[in-house]
């Protein structure tokens, strides 16, 4: 007897698609709507899982777009400490769709949050990227100069990217009651001071996320009509929830909202969904892709995700290259040391 399920391919059945497939061979991608060429410039932003995406793109020789790289004089350790190289610009984690939309508007001067800077003991923190600068900026002047430079880098990223990969992380966020500016972290956690008269909790709905990303796409394509967007959902659970319920319930609620929103947007031209969330959280690997803390993602899991990304989304699979620093130092210091040594030598000969 014929029915709609009688001739479906194996990936559409649980038994053949998941249960009887070795965990490492799980491939829920099946088809991807476009191909990324080796010449395409790929930008990445989002929650912490997006850091892995950025790192693997770089390691596999893709044109990872970094418009705010660390200066080559800085050591790799210093560069990472100061938030360079994790994403396509030095914006730190962008957890929510609202934060992404507001970043674009801030970069183009269309939104200027009233909460401009957090000052603590003569240090200055950016409320919208409080973690990128350890202990904040040293002066207000430095803060202003760095942010101006940062916005230029963000504009450059939006305008130069051929593909923009965004990892949706959270729905829970905190907003300013003055102008609805969304913070990446609740004020008072990393920096700033929480004030219930000025800060409010917001849990984005599917409609919110779809509206944010739709508006983002329209505004992004005004600056860059050719850009394609890849959406993923971070498999990393919430560290804590502001809702009075179990953190696991809040996690599944958040991820479900994000997943549905991504599903809706994936149908629009130039937008694709990549199932990183499903690869990591699939029962087939029995949670083995989660580290001891049951939040962090093990490298094997990231490798599985990126291997499928290269296979399905890229025109060429990419070739692993040496694990080089995101910001390689140049030879300037060595040249300078030689020059200074010579001057010092001559100094001795010419008292």
């Amino acid at each position: 007897m014929s029915h709609p399920y009688s001739d479906i391919p194996g990936y559409r059945r649980w038994r053949s698609g998941v249960a009887e497939t070795p965990p490492a061979d799980l491939d829920p991608v099946v088809a991807f709507p476009f191909r990324i060429s080796p010449q395409d410039r790929i930008a990445a932003a989002g929650s912490c899982f997006a850091q892995h995406v950025a790192r693997h793109l770089r390691l596999h020789g893709f044109q990872f777009l970094d418009t705010e790289p660390a200066h080559p004089l800085l050591s790799e350790e210093t560069a990472r400490k100061f938030g360079y190289g994790f994403f396509s610009a030095r914006f730190g984690n962008i957890y929510t769709s609202r934060q992404l939309l507001q970043l674009l508007r801030r970069a183009y001067g269309r939104f200027q949050p009233i909460d401009d800077v957090w000052q603590e003991a003569n240090r200055y923190f950016d409320p919208f990227r409080p973690s990128v600068q350890p202990n904040g900026f040293a002066t207000r002047e430095e803060y202003a100069a760095d942010r101006q430079q940062h916005f230029a880098a963000v504009r450059c990223m939006f305008e130069q990217a051929d593909v923009f990969v965004f990892t949706l992380g959270l729905t829970e966020c905190w907003v300013s009651l003055e102008d609805a500016a969304v913070y990446p972290m609740c004020p008072g956690t990393v920096a700033g001071k929480f004030d219930p008269r000025r800060h409010a909790f917001l849990n984005l709905t599917v409609e919110d996320v779809v509206a944010d990303l739709s508006a983002f796409l329209v505004e992004l394509r005004t600056a860059n009509p050719r850009v394609k967007m890849v959406l993923t959902v971070s498999p990393v659970p919430l560290a804590a929830t502001a809702v009075d319920r179990h953190v696991w319930v809040s996690t599944t609620a958040s991820k479900a909202v994000l997943r549905v929103a991504a599903e809706r947007l994936a149908g629009t031209p130039g937008v694709a969904y990549f199932p990183a969330y499903e690869i990591i959280t699939s029962p087939s690997n029995r949670a083995s892709y989660f580290a001891e803390d049951l939040r962090s993602i093990r490298e094997e899991g990231v490798g599985h995700v990126m291997g499928l990304f290269f296979r399905h989304a890229c025109a060429q699979p990419g070739k692993a290259i040496a694990d080089t620093a995101a910001t390689a130092q140049d030879g300037f210091l060595a040249y300078m040391q030689d020059a200074v040594d010579i001057i010092c030598d001559e100094s001795r000969l010419d008292p």
Binding site: T78, F82, E142, A145, F332, Y335, C344, D345, R348
Partner: protein
């Protein structure tokens, strides 16, 4: 990088008081020259002239046993001229990717419009990393004496770019910008380097002696009268350091 071994005549002067013990690198040279001019006695251990006395550089720099003993036996203030070039290495010349930063003690100093801004704390880390072997040596010298150790600040930068240009071995910079770094940047790097070293000194029971005030112009640059080669100061500057040192031991 340490220079190849070279030995120069030791500075000897005949005065009644105990010669001041000076230890360090090339910035010590101006004091040696001034000592020869003035007859003020110093006992100079210049690593730049004789690097054979330094062992295990750069990871765990130490001195040869006879020199260790010399420091242990010395019963006066030890003057350090160790290092003092990290700011020059980082920013005497323009990097192909021009950079600048805001100096917290003088945030009004101009930022070069063509340069990218690097957080001052990251520049501080860079200078600290560059100075690391010398800071280790200072800490080591501190451990060898129970008497006072005074570190002498390296001289201020020169403001005259044309004068500096003549001193640069440009052939060492293939494919790089051949320009002296902007004056404000060189000044900021010198100030920040001095802060890094002064902070280190404060943590390790070492006094920090700032440059002689009469050697700078209104903007804080080294007056032309004290110019030697763009990195080091001359014997006149050394003479003022000798005065500072004598005051410190009085």
């Amino acid at each position: 990088m340490w220079p190849k071994f070279r030995r120069s005549p030791s500075v000897v002067a005949s005065v009644d008081q105990l010669p001041m013990l000076c230890i360090g690198h090339s910035h010590l040279h101006c004091v040696q020259a001034a000592s020869a001019d003035t007859g003020i006695a110093i006992d100079a251990i210049n690593f730049w002239e004789d690097n054979s006395v330094v062992l295990d550089y750069p990871d765990n720099p130490a001195l040869t046993p006879p020199l260790q003993q010399r420091l242990r036996d010395y019963s006066g203030t030890v003057f350090s001229f160790i290092g003092g070039s990290a700011h020059t290495v980082v920013g005497l010349l323009s990097h192909p990717r021009r950079f600048d930063f805001v100096l917290p003690e003088a945030p009004w100093l101009p930022l070069n419009a063509q340069s990218e801004v690097i957080p001052v704390d990251a520049i501080r880390s860079l200078l600290f990393e560059q100075a690391q072997p010398f800071l280790k040596m200072m800490r080591y010298v501190r451990s060898l004496t129970r008497h006072r150790v005074v570190h002498m600040e390296p001289p201020p930068p020169c403001s005259d770019e044309q004068r500096l240009r003549r001193k640069i071995p440009w052939s060492l910079f293939p494919g790089m910008l051949r320009e002296i770094a902007p004056r404000p940047l060189r000044y900021k790097l010198w100030r920040l380097h001095s802060q890094v070293v002064a902070d280190f000194c404060a943590e390790h029971d070492i006094a920090f002696a700032a440059h002689p005030r009469q050697t700078i112009d209104a903007e804080g640059f080294l007056l032309g009268d004290f110019f030697h080669d763009g990195i080091h100061a001359n014997h006149k500057y050394g003479a003022l350091l000798l005065q500072q040192m004598r005051s410190a031991t009085a």
